[in-house]
Point group: C2
Chain length 267, copies 2
């Protein structure tokens, strides 16, 4: 589709982009915002999600051609000057490209687990409400080839704008599903024959000594509270050994170490 030039920040065709920071906090009726070249690149390359439209800075259009070329022919591309872009977004947008993605129908945890292989590695996020942490964990999950991420409802939406950005697009790449609570996830993974590990400073086995066989799940909880007792008591537990006197790692850093330890990618 030929790019369409927009000069009026109030033009209805770019209404979905108005005040994007403010609107992170309210529902988006099945839409999400992808920002920046790398993220929009992943969005168009993986095709896990539909694209409603794209908004590009005029002076960045040339550099985005390979990304835009991947869009289905019926997806409109809107081109704006820098001043109009800032007026629309509601702040100074130094990133040259935004896209509105379509969530579509997300798979249920059960459906998602039906698609993973015999040696699947699944990360389970429990109560991780911080966008940076969720984004970082997705980035690590992609880096170490995790097959899926399952989240409880208390965790942050992986399609929140900032989570996608911090994940460098991995939130658009690694399949995920959300369950009402972690106990439902544990029941499901148990039924599917997963060996389930809770990561905790109080964990029984050093993460270096875990030698999982078959499908495996790694549970990650918040830094303060950790994983709830009802989960800890029914799962295997693993720890990352730290220097004496040090409280805890950031959960994203801990996920990197644990997913690396679990990874099946032989050197």
């Amino acid at each position: 589709m030929e790019p369409v030039r927009i000069d009026d920040p109030l033009d209805e065709r770019v209404a979905a982009y108005v005040d994007i920071r403010e609107r992170d906090l309210v529902g988006r009726q099945g839409r999400f915002v992808a920002e920046g070249k790398v993220v929009v690149d992943v969005l168009t390359a993986t095709r896990r999600f539909g694209v409603e439209s794209v908004l590009v800075l005029e002076n960045r259009l040339a550099g985005m051609q390979h990304v835009l070329a991947r869009l289905p022919a019926d997806v409109p591309v809107y081109v704006v000057g820098a001043a109009v872009m800032d007026r629309i977004a509601g702040f100074h947008m130094h990133r040259g490209i935004l896209a509105i993605g379509l969530r579509g129908e997300l798979a249920s945890p059960d459906q998602l687990l039906g698609t993973v292989g015999q040696n699947a590695l699944v990360a389970v996020l429990v109560g991780i409400s911080n966008h940076d942490n969720v984004g970082s964990i997705f980035r690590n999950a992609a880096a170490f080839g995790a097959d899926a991420v399952l989240l409880d409802k208390a965790s942050c939406d992986p399609l929140y704008r900032k989570a996608i950005r911090v994940s460098v697009g991995a939130a658009l790449k690694v399949p995920f599903a959300v369950a009402d609570d972690a106990a439902i996830i544990a029941d499901l993974l148990e039924k599917k024959g997963f060996t389930q590990f809770a990561l905790s400073p109080r964990g029984e086995t050093d993460i270096r000594d875990v030698q999982p066989r078959g499908p495996v799940a790694l549970y990650l909880g918040t830094e303060g509270e950790g994983l709830p007792e009802h989960l800890m008591s029914r799962l295997h537990t693993a720890r990352i050994t730290m220097a004496p006197g040090f409280d805890s790692l950031n959960v994203a850093a801990a996920s990197a170490i644990a997913l690396h330890a679990f990874t099946r990618n032989a050197g």
Copy 2:
């Protein structure tokens, strides 16, 4: 010292706290800002740095007693109401405590390395200018008992307010020193008998297979550029094996995995 109540945001005694976010960008003449209970706790507990004064919200004073009790008797503690705190700081300060620390005379890399043991683990940061990354790397360095951090001048100041906060105080705990450039650091570590590893996606040895003996240094570079060729060519190189098609980890996540792999803390 008895806490001193301040009601005028323009009171000269709290001038060091005025507009703290703006002033991150300019020099602070030998001072730094520690914010939040956990960070001020580390500042007063480790005593690596002096404290010029402390500013506390009146309704948080009771909860800070154990932190304040550690202060030398001549350090003033200023108490303010929430409105005055916000006026002073220049934004809504939900953290209940701020302190002005004194940088003092920082050790040179040579002096610092004179204080570490035979099996020292040292992290070397090259061109890491992002505050979050520097803060996170310090947190990981503390978690895995690194003895020191060396930085080139292109890296972010570890005593930048946000770096300290992200480090959860580790920037005030793990000794560090700054050199003009990384080549000086490499010369010095070589002279001191360190085995030096550059972490890079192009590294020769899988980090899991590195078995360092004696003092060891881990070089971390930026995500985009990576470490410069003149360093790569003179150091051992190690990689974190990732899933095919995935570009790179965040440098903080990579530091967590590598420092964990190098750590001498037996299970």
